[in-house]
């Protein structure tokens, strides 16, 4: 199996879907000759031309609105929002329209739309190039929310997203674009939207994570295994909505202790729902407090290096949280 980076896997998925289905097209800011500011669409404009890889005006509301309209009319748009921080102008289109279309039309109209967007901090991006926005969207029924943590999953899940009849928000951990490498199967494959993935087996406690935090969690798990003999189970959530409750609860039944790691600020973040489900449906297995490791409740990730490090969960903070919970 060839090894590739996260961003290469994402590009390959789009390339293959453009080739497979003529209804697929890409739009977004700078996705054309520039190949996207992170190079996710590099080469696709030259290969598929300006009708299939369309540089949009600088207006996210319309990127999504156009995508919804084209999807309703039978196309399979992939809309790129340059940074997740800039998805907010499109909030109304996503929340009021894409999410509710199927329900409000009694199942008559579907919105087979993919919205891809890089998210997350640790890149010196300050308040507006670091945001994690998944909780806003995972809150709304009718939207699927996917965050891959490995190149294999990124490619397979993105292909599933393109083929899904529903709107899918596909958030990509941008710090991992070139940092995360991994093996990707040759040839055609998909990874289904829905199932979470147990990426490390262990008996002492379960760490739930996704995206960049999953990458760090695996490293932290190895560290505490080597240094402290703690064996973590790690669950990569992968599909945040709709959630794979069975896998999430299954691991908790086994370990009885849970740590949820996410890089958004803590209050009402994604981890709150996991914690609520575990305490509600897994109460009799509970063997310690359900812990969350997340960013502090401030309005954004600050720019200055010292403050950004303070904000961001990373390997050391995760390892410390694991040790503390294991000792409980």
């Amino acid at each position: 199996m060839p090894e590739m980076t996260l961003i290469d896997a994402i590009r390959e998925a789009m390339d293959e879907e453009l080739a497979r289905d003529e209804r697929v097209f890409i739009t977004g800011e700078d996705v054309g000759p520039r190949g996207g500011v992170f190079r996710a669409t590099m080469g696709l404009y030259d290969k598929y031309g300006p009708d299939r890889v369309i540089d949009s005006p600088l207006a996210e509301l319309s990127i999504v609105g156009i995508g919804i309209g084209a999807a309703l009319a039978g196309m399979r748009p992939i809309c790129e929002i340059q940074f997740a921080d800039f998805i907010h102008p499109a909030f109304n289109q996503i929340i009021s329209e894409a999410a509710r279309m199927y329900y409000r039309s009694n199942g008559e109209w579907t919105v087979p739309l993919v919205i891809r967007s890089p998210y997350g901090g640790g890149i010196g991006g300050g308040l507006y190039h670091s945001q994690s926005v998944e909780a806003f969207f995972a809150h709304v029924p009718g939207l699927k929310v996917v965050i891959p943590a490995t190149p294999r999953d990124a490619k397979g899940l993105l292909k599933s997203a393109v083929r899904d009849p529903n709107p899918v928000l596909f958030f990509e951990p941008k710090k991992g674009y070139r940092l995360i490498r991994g093996e990707v199967p040759e040839g055609e494959y998909t990874v289904p939207i829905g199932p979470a993935n147990v990426t490390r087996e262990g008996d002492d406690l379960t760490v739930y994570a996704y995206g960049m935090m999953h990458y760090y969690t695996l490293q932290a798990a190895e560290q505490v295994a080597a240094q402290d003999g703690i064996q973590c189970e790690v669950v990569d959530i992968r599909t945040l909505a709709p959630l794979d409750r069975e896998t999430v609860l299954g691991s908790f039944r086994k370990t009885g202790k849970a740590l949820i790691v996410y890089e958004d600020n803590r209050f009402l973040g994604y981890g709150a729902e996991i914690a609520a489900i575990l305490s509600d449906e897994g109460f009799e297995y509970m063997d310690g407090p359900i812990r969350r490791l997340a960013g502090p409740d401030v309005p954004g990730v600050p720019f200055a290096h010292s403050m950004e490090r303070f904000f961001m969960p990373g390997v050391e903070k995760i390892a410390d949280a694991i040790r503390e919970l294991a000792a409980y």
Partner: protein, 346 residues
């Protein structure tokens, strides 16, 4: 405006009556911004800073506008390229260096924001974010407050031509038209939004062509001619103060640098185009004009250069010596304290 890029056009000073000392000061502010900006690129190449977004090539419209307004009296909501505007209003290279290095004492955001996200309360420069065009309706709101209070201030805002595709721009300008607000909106049209050329942004040839749909005055100006820019902003300010409402000014200019230090502009525009535009460099044009008029001589230019170098060296050294903000400073300033004197007990 001249469209012949082969020759360096002159400076259109018609109707502009400024003292020689003011003209020299305008030159100094353009030069100071240019050299500060160039230093930022050097620091980035040296790996000392992580990010820079440049205002090189945009100095004429920014300095022209800054001098046509009253710093600290009028309000400004400038966008990320407006280093020269900020410096001309009272921001300093030292402030900017602290932002570039993200160090303690950075005055606009406590180094919470990326560099070039301006905001200086004492100068009436309102804090700016990254999502583009958000400042336009806010500037209209500032202008509404000015109007409601019967003040003679103006609200000034700027943005790029690509950013005019956002709904924020239309909605803000619509308010300005409906309520005849004392607003000046300058669009620095450098014909690219990162890689996207202006013809993929709008189907009309000029941003200012949209002014009639808002019911505001539309003006096109050579954005690389500092005195022409000064004149149109001055006129817009007079219009605003006399109840004539808002003005949409389109300054035609160019960005000779990549979009930011993260960009590679070779992927989307030919080198010849960049070279052609460099012949219209606003600083060189103004310098030639001032030399010709006898307002500057080579010695004066050398003195300004030395002064800029000295000021920027000092600013850089001070910023490099400054500590990072304490990590816990990340936790501050989430809510402003409530005024307890306003509490009414039942």
């Amino acid at each position: 405006m001249a469209t012949d890029l082969e020759t360096r056009p002159g400076i259109d000073d018609s109707g502009v009556q400024l003292e020689a000392a003011t003209l020299r000061e305008m030159y100094w502010q353009m030069l100071r911004a240019r050299r500060t900006d160039e230093r930022a690129w050097v620091l980035h190449r040296q790996g000392k800073i992580a990010f820079h977004i440049s205002g090189i090539g945009h100095e004429a419209i920014q300095v022209g506008a800054a001098f046509a307004l009253r710093p600290g009296y009028d309000y400004a909501l400038p966008y990320y390229r407006d280093l020269a505007f900020n410096l001309a209003w009272g921001y300093t290279p030292h402030d900017f260096m602290l932002a570039l290095f993200g160090r303690e004492g950075e005055p606009t955001s406590g180094a919470r924001q990326m560099p070039s996200h301006w905001g200086t309360r004492s100068l009436n420069i309102i804090s700016q974010s990254s999502p583009v065009a958000t400042q336009v309706p806010q500037a209209a709101g500032v202008a509404l407050a000015i109007k409601l209070r019967g003040e003679d201030r103006v609200a000034y805002t700027s943005l790029g031509e690509g950013s005019t595709s956002q709904g924020d721009f239309y909605e803000g300008m619509n308010w300005a038209g409906v309520h005849k607000l004392p607003l000046i909106c300058v669009v620095e049209n450098n014909i690219y939004a990162i890689s996207v050329p202006v013809h993929l942004q709008m189907a009309v040839p000029n941003v200012a062509d949209r002014a009639p749909m808002f019911g505001v005055e539309g003006v096109i100006v050579d954005g690389n001619d500092v005195l022409a820019c000064y004149r149109v902003v001055k006129e817009a300010a007079e219009r605003a103060r006399s109840g004539g409402g808002a003005t949409l000014i389109e300054a035609k200019t160019y960005r000779p640098t990549p979009h930011s230090s993260d960009d590679d502009d070779r992927t989307y525009r030919p080198r010849e185009e960049v070279e052609q535009w460099k012949k219209r460099d606003p600083l060189a044009r103004f310098q030639a004009y001032l030399l010709e008029a006898g307002i500057l001589d080579e010695q004066a230019i050398a003195d300004y250069e030395a002064r800029a170098r000295e000021e920027i060296d000092r600013a850089q050294a001070a910023a490099e010596a400054a500590p990072f903000p304490p990590p816990e400073a990340a936790l501050g300033d989430v809510f402003a304290p409530v005024d307890e004197t306003l509490r009414a007990e039942e």
